[in-house]
C-alpha cells in the first residue's frame, strides 16, 4: 500500500512534468527571441523593394544587394553613361548596374566596424585586466572600508548612461577626448570595470586560499602564486566576464551616439542611418546588423563551456 502511494507521488514523475513545462516555456521564449534575428537575417538578403513590400514576403528571391550597399557608396547615372562604361566587371558592379548605379567607392561601414572592434576589445581587455587585479585585492586582502568601496564601485552601474552623458560630453570636450578611440575605450572600461570587479571577486572567493598559501609556503612570491595558481583556475570566470564586458561595449549606443561622430564612431550609431534612395536602405541596415552580430556569436560559441561554468559560478562542472 505504501509502495503504491510512493509511486503516485513519484519524484520522477513530477520532474518529468516539470521538464515538459520548462521545455515549452524555453521553446516559447526562444521563438520570441529568434524571430527578430531571423527577420534581420532574411532582410539582409532581400532586394530593397522586397524588404518593404506589404504583406511582408517570407519567400523571396535572395539578393546580395544589401551586402553590396552596406560596403559601398553609389551614384545614379543615365543609361547613356552606363552604356558608355561597357559591361560591368565584378559581380557587385553587376548588382548596382541593375539599379542604374555605379559604385563610387567604399562606404564608411568598414571603418566604423573596425572602430567597434578596437574599442570593444580594447575596453574589454582593460576592464578584465583591471577588474582581475582589483577583485583579487578585494578578495584576499584586508581593505579598509571594503564593503563601502565595493558598493561604491557597483553604484556607478545604477544610473542610466544617459544621466551622465552630458557631463561626460563636456568633460571629454575639454580634455580633447571626444570623438577619439582612446576616449571611448576609457569610457567603456570605466563602465565595465564595476561589473568585472564584482563578477571576478565572486570567482576568486570560490578559490580556496590554501592554494596560494601552499605556493607561498613552497617558496613562490604572491605574484607568482597568483599567476601560476589563481589565474589558471579563474579561466572560466575570466571568459564569462570578458564576454559580458564585450557585449556591453559592442552594443553600447547612447554614449557612442553622443560622443562620437566623424572619427571614432562605432557601428551601432552608424548602421541604422544607412540611407538609400528614398529613405532607409533596409537590406543594407540588416546586412550591417548581421555582420555586427557575428563576433559576439562567434565568441559566445567558442567559449560556451567556460561561459556555462562561469555564469553559474562553477556550479556546472564539465
Amino acid at each position: 500500500m505504501s509502495a503504491r502511494a510512493t509511486t503516485a507521488h513519484s519524484v520522477v514523475e513530477i520532474k518529468a512534468a516539470g521538464k515538459w513545462f520548462a521545455g515549452i516555456l524555453v521553446a516559447a521564449y526562444a521563438l520570441v527571441a529568434v524571430i527578430p534575428l531571423a527577420w534581420i537575417l532574411m532582410t539582409g538578403f532581400k532586394s530593397p523593394p522586397d524588404s518593404i513590400s506589404y504583406p511582408p514576403k517570407v519567400v523571396f528571391e535572395p539578393s546580395l544587394e544589401g551586402y553590396v550597399n552596406v560596403f559601398t557608396n553609389r551614384s545614379r547615372q543615365t543609361p547613356e553613361y552606363l552604356e558608355s562604361l561597357g559591361p560591368p566587371k565584378a559581380w557587385y558592379d553587376k548588382i548596382s548596374r541593375k539599379r542604374n548605379m555605379v559604385i563610387t567607392g567604399p562606404s564608411r561601414f568598414a571603418g566604423r566596424y573596425m572602430n567597434s572592434v578596437v574599442i570593444g576589445f580594447g575596453s574589454t581587455f582593460l576592464a578584465v585586466f583591471l577588474g582581475t587585479l582589483a577583485a583579487y585585492g578585494f578578495s584576499r586582502f584586508k581593505v579598509p572600508l571594503k564593503d563601502d568601496l565595493l558598493f561604491f564601485i557597483l553604484s556607478t552601474r545604477m544610473m542610466p548612461p544617459i544621466a551622465v552623458a552630458i557631463p561626460i560630453f563636456l568633460m571629454y570636450r575639454t580634455l580633447g577626448l571626444s570623438d577619439t578611440i582612446l576616449g571611448m575605450i576609457l569610457l567603456y572600461t570605466a563602465v565595465n570595470v564595476s561589473l568585472a570587479v564584482w563578477l571576478l571577486k565572486g570567482f576568486i572567493d570560490e578559490i580556496p586560499r590554501e592554494y596560494e598559501e601552499a605556493a607561498v609556503v613552497d617558496g613562490y612570491t604572491r605574484l607568482q602564486a597568483f599567476i601560476k595558481v589563481i589565474l589558471p583556475q579563474m579561466r572560466a570566470g575570466i571568459a564569462a566576464t570578458a564576454i559580458f564586458c564585450l557585449i556591453f561595449a559592442w552594443n553600447e549606443y547612447a554614449f557612442a551616439l553622443l560622443l562620437t561622430s566623424g572619427n571614432a564612431q562605432t557601428a551601432p550609431p552608424f548602421i541604422p542611418i544607412i540611407i538609400g534612395e528614398g529613405g532607409l536602405d533596409w537590406p543594407a541596415v540588416a546586412a550591417g546588423t548581421t555582420l555586427f552580430l557575428v563576433p559576439i556569436v562567434f565568441f559566445t560559441v567558442l567559449l560556451r563551456n567556460q561561459l556555462l561554468r562561469g555564469i553559474t559560478f562553477g556550479a556546472v562542472r564539465k
Binding site: P208, E210, Y211, E213, A214, A215, V216, V217, D218, G219, Y220, T221, Q224, V229, P232, Q233
Partner: protein, 350 residues
C-alpha cells in the same frame, strides 16, 4: 631537519583567542602530534609556524634562528593542508614538482623528475604521475599531497589532519605508511589531528590542546596513563574513561580531596567478589574486544573485555577495578597524583 621552538606564542582573531601563550618544542627528527577538538587552535598553530599568520606575542625559532616575523618562503617548511592541497589544473607530476620549481630552487629538469619519481615510488603512486590531479581517489590525492611535502628537504613538516578525509581502512594504511616514511627520513614533524588513534600511533609525543591552551605534552603512554586532568583523560581511550562520583564504586586508598574518579573501561573488572552490583544494559562486540555498558545505581559505566564473557543485556553482575588503576581528580578536574604509573605497572606486571 631542524628543531622548532615556540615560546609564549599567542594569536587572536578579533575577539577569539585562538592560541594563548603556546610553549612547544619539536625536537630534531621528532614526531609531535597536537590533539584537540575542532576550534582548539590546531590549524592556527601550524599556520603560525609556517608564517601564514603573524603571532601577536611570543617567538618562533626554527633551527635556532628566530623566524617570528619572517615571511613563509625562507622558513623552508613543507605544509600538508587539511584540504584543497592539489592544484586541479596540473597533473600529479606537476603538482609534486611544484615546490621544486619554486624560484631559488634552481634544479634541472632531470633532477626534478628524478626526485619526483623517487618520492612517487615511496608513496606507491608512480603509475599515477600522468593523471590529472582531479582524476584520483581520495587516498591517492592525499598521498600526492604528502608527496608534495616530501620532495623538498624542508626543515620541518607541518601536517594538518592529512588523513581526515580518508575512509577508516585507508587511514590505517596511511598511518603506518606515514610513520614509516617519517622514521626513514628522520623528518621533524608537527602533525595535528582530532583523532586520538592517529595521535597514539604516530606520535613520539602528544600535545593536548584545549581552547588555545596546551594542557599537557608527553609520550602517548604517559599522557594516557597519567593525564593531567579529566579533559586530557577523556581525549584518549575508546570507549572514553568512566568519570564517576567517588561513591559509585568501592575503592581502597583514594587520596583525600578526590571529587571524581576516573576508571578506564579496560580497568573495570566484572564478576568481582564483593564488588558493586550492576546491571548489563548493552553488549557491543568489536571483534577481539567487547564493550559492556553497565548501569550501577543510575550511573552508566563502560567496561572493555578481552572476550565476550557470556554477558547479555539484563544480566546482573558485580563491578571492581584493577588495583591501583583508578585515577582521582580534585574538584577543579586536575588529577591527584597518587595512582602513578609504577603502581599500575606493578598491578599489571608489565
Amino acid at each position: 631537519m631542524a628543531e622548532v621552538v615556540l615560546q609564549g606564542v599567542g594569536k587572536s582573531f578579533g575577539e577569539t583567542r585562538a592560541l594563548k601563550a603556546l610553549d612547544l618544542t619539536v625536537g630534531d627528527g621528532e614526531f609531535v602530534v597536537l590533539l584537540g577538538p575542532t576550534g582548539a587552535g590546531k590549524t592556527t598553530s601550524l599556520r603560525l609556524v609556517a608564517g601564514l599568520e603573524r603571532a601577536d606575542s611570543g617567538t618562533i625559532r626554527i633551527g635556532g634562528t628566530e623566524v617570528t616575523d619572517w615571511p613563509p618562503a625562507p622558513r623552508n617548511i613543507a605544509f600538508v593542508f587539511q584540504q584543497y592541497s592539489l592544484y586541479p589544473h596540473y597533473s600529479v607530476f606537476d603538482n609534486m614538482a611544484f615546490p621544486l620549481r619554486a624560484p631559488g630552487m634552481d634544479l634541472s629538469k632531470d633532477e626534478i623528475a628524478g626526485r619526483v619519481r623517487e618520492i612517487a615510488r615511496l608513496l606507491r603512486i608512480e603509475d599515477k604521475l600522468k593523471n590529472r590531479a582531479t582524476q584520483l581517489s581520495g587516498g591517492e590525492m592525499q598521498r600526492v599531497a604528502i608527496g608534495r611535502a616530501l620532495v623538498r628537504q624542508p626543515s620541518i613538516f607541518l601536517m594538518d589532519e592529512p588523513l581526515s578525509s580518508l575512509d577508516a581502512k585507508l587511514r590505517e594504511e596511511m598511518r603506518v605508511e606515514l610513520k614509516r616514511i617519517q622514521h626513514d627520513l628522520g623528518a621533524t614533524t608537527l602533525y595535528v589531528t582530532h583523532d586520538q588513534l592517529e595521535a597514539m600511533t604516530l606520535a613520539d609525543r602528544i600535545g593536548v590542546l584545549r581552547e588555545g591552551v596546551l594542557v599537557q605534552i608527553d609520550t602517548p603512554r604517559a599522557v594516557y596513563e597519567t593525564p593531567r586532568d579529566i579533559y586530557v583523560a577523556r581525549r584518549l581511550g575508546s570507549p572514553q574513561i568512566n568519570i564517576l562520583d567517588p561513591g559509585v564504586l568501592t575503592l581502597d586508598g583514594l587520596p583525600p580531596g578526590a571529587a571524581q574518579i576516573g576508571v578506564r573501561p579496560e580497568d573495570v573488572i566484572l564478576r568481582h567478589d564483593g564488588g558493586t552490583p550492576a546491571r548489563v544494559r548493552a553488549v557491543e562486540h568489536l571483534g577481539v574486544e567487547t564493550v559492556i555498558v553497565l548501569d550501577s545505581g543510575g550511573t552508566k559505566i563502560h567496561a572493555l573485555l578481552g572476550a565476550a564473557g557470556a554477558f547479555a543485556p539484563g544480566d546482573t553482575t558485580t563491578l571492581g577495578v584493577h588495583p591501583g588503576a583508578a585515577m582521582a581528580f580534585d574538584s577543579q578536574g586536575a588529577r591527584i597524583a597518587a595512582t602513578s604509573a609504577p603502581t599500575r605497572e606493578a598491578a599489571y606486571g608489565t
